[in-house]
Amino acid sequence: MRERQIPTIIDTDIGLGHGKADVDDAIALLVALASPRLNILGITTVSGNVRSDVATCNLFMLLERIKRKDILIGYGCAEPIGGTNSILIKRWSHSLTNAERDLLREIQITREDSVSFIIERLLEAKEPVYIVAIGPLTNIALCLTQRPDLREKIKQIILMGGSTIGGKVTPVAEFNIWADPEAARIVFRSGLSVVFFPLDITTSVPITPDSIRKWNNQGSEFLKYLHKESVEYMHFRSERYGIREAQMFFHDVMPVMYIAQALSFIFEDCNVEVECSGSLTRGMTIVGRGVWAGETPIHRMAVNVDHDSFLKKTVDLITENYRSFE
């Protein structure tokens, strides 16, 4: 008998296709799309790594390339709840080509915006849905504020975000949470259990050009393209942050490997607050663990994983499932 599938909505700020943007969202989506365990109800886009219109085009092109136009998509939100800032505006400076602009117009006519899309999927779902959020939490927070009654249709929120070891975007904050702290606060305070994968664990497995070398010699143009984009991003990172070795992290892949491939992680129960004020600490996740976890910690932070197994399974899964694509 076939295992029961897990109903899942994925929310992403996918940057693939617009150079210098992190490619881990794309890898994460590819893993999810190749996982029979998941019943993907849809994929929605949000502004984060790139502006949401760019993310929407990227998502559309990726699905087209791997012949998965059967997947439903939603577009937006464009603006974080707490507003944009100069760093985000600089990150969002990609402009769309004419073809992309036409594509986007069509998507906006024929599809729903992300928030309505998620609400619709939750309304029609027969059993509680898993939400996998691998970008800022704007869409999810707006769903929760507009339809608090739909909380019971959400089984769990699984997200990549937060850090207790500082971050790159500020000395104390991780990008996804920092980009929309108000949204993150709404999500962590919604009463729903959040399973989160902070920088602490996602940066524990560095990915080097060598880790993904395989993708280059499968005779697949698509895998070669993924390889090239990843390696370019690694070099871009090492330049930007002054790191000697070219490397990147599969941040967003971790929550997907957990839910879609049942990869085993070690978790710690905790509570989480998100700093929305703070002259230095806006966007920081304050994780109460151990003596600070309180009486009833409802969130779970991923703290450990078998590094080799995560890396090997991810790379192999991509290789095996996408080697026939051009």
């Binding site: 207790t164 070891i165 000395p171 104390v172 607050e273 700093e275 929305c276 004020s277 703070g278 002259s279 230095l280 600490t281 920081m284 304050i286 994780v287 109460g288 663990r289 151990g290 003596v291 600070w292």
Partner: protein, 317 residues
């Protein structure tokens, strides 16, 4: 080395003060006291009593700031006050105390004393700070020149990676007066931060064997030390933090004398004063191999050696 000790004279501060008597290299010029829970003059009185019992007649004692620069005072952990007040009451009843203690207490302000001493010995004074930084911040605001004549400041406070002890991200001394801490950390460029990352790894559990010499030399001080350590241990147990007492302030004193006890990371340290959940956090920004980083943040400690040096100092061996 010439030392001024700025303290709130609660539990482990007193252990540090006692240790100064057992380290030959330390020349303790003055003790300035912040008034946690009782007026600063009362904390100063306790410092004077300890010095008197240790036979120290040269160190001057001052009462410092009474409350934080902007905020309401925090009560903090009262666990160690019982043995300390017991010691104070005992001393007060001792013959002649009131006339003796006048010779320690000083009418100048703590800030004035710190400034004048630094001017008198430019580049020679180490400030050891183990309480809220209010008095030091006041001294800096009143006498900005002071930052040029201080040799260095060793601060027990803050945390870099470890969870805090008053919130998940903040340590008590900084949290008690974040505005003062912000002044000190932004104006001074010769700070050693001895925070929870290392002090929580430097632990002691009381047993009579460890303090045999002290018990022989000075039963009154021994009683005080025993009372402080055991009541602090009881607090730790109550809070689910294990059975041992962290030697926060004694470690800071030891780092003054034996800097090699800790491995440090050159940082710039900013203090969050506006956060809803992060106020009092020491935001440490890595300065790489920067030789002139304003703050050296202790991140690892040879705790076995630290504990043995602590026992050596307190037993005056």
């Amino acid at each position: 080395m010439k030392l001024i000790f700025d303290t709130d004279m609660i539990g482990d501060d007193i252990l540090s003060l006692i240790c100064t008597a057992g380290i030959e290299d330390v020349e303790l010029l003055g003790v300035t006291c912040y008034g946690r829970r009782v007026p600063p003059a009362e904390r100063a009185e306790i410092a004077a009593m300890v010095l008197y019992e240790l036979g120290n007649t040269h160190t001057k004692v001052f009462s410092g700031a009474e409350k934080p620069i902007l905020r309401e005072p925090r009560i903090g952990c009262t666990g160690c006050d019982i043995p300390i007040f017991k010691f104070r009451d005992f001393m007060r009843e001792k013959e002649n105390w009131s006339s003796i203690h006048l010779s320690y207490l000083n009418s100048r302000t703590a800030a004035q004393f710190i400034f004048e001493t630094c001017e008198q010995y430019p580049g020679e004074i180490t400030l050891l700070c183990t309480g809220p930084l209010t008095t030091i911040a006041s001294a800096i605001l009143e006498f900005p020149r002071i930052t040029e004549s201080i040799k260095n400041i060793v601060i027990m406070g803050g945390t870099r990676r470890r969870q805090g002890n008053v919130s998940p991200v903040a340590e008590s001394n900084i949290f008690s007066d974040p505005e003062a801490a912000a002044i000190v950390f932004s104006r001074c460029n010769c700070i050693s931060m001895v925070g929870l990352d290392v002090t929580m790894k430097t632990l002691i559990e009381y047993s009579d064997d460890l303090f045999l010499d002290l018990a022989k030399q000075n039963p009154i001080i021994h009683e005080l030390v025993k009372g402080i350590i055991t009541s602090c241990q009881a607090m730790q147990v109550q809070r689910g933090r294990g059975t041992k007492m962290p030697l926060h302030d004694p470690l800071a004193l030891l780092v003054v004398v034996y800097p090699e006890l800790v491995k440090t990371r050159p940082c710039k340290v900013l203090i969050e004063t506006k956060g809803e959940f992060t106020t009092g956090m020491t935001v440490c920004i890595d300065q790489g191999a920067e030789k002139n980083a304003p703050v050296l943040v202790a991140e690892e400690v040879d705790s076995e050696k630290a504990v043995s040096l602590f026992l050596k100092a307190i037993n005056r061996k």
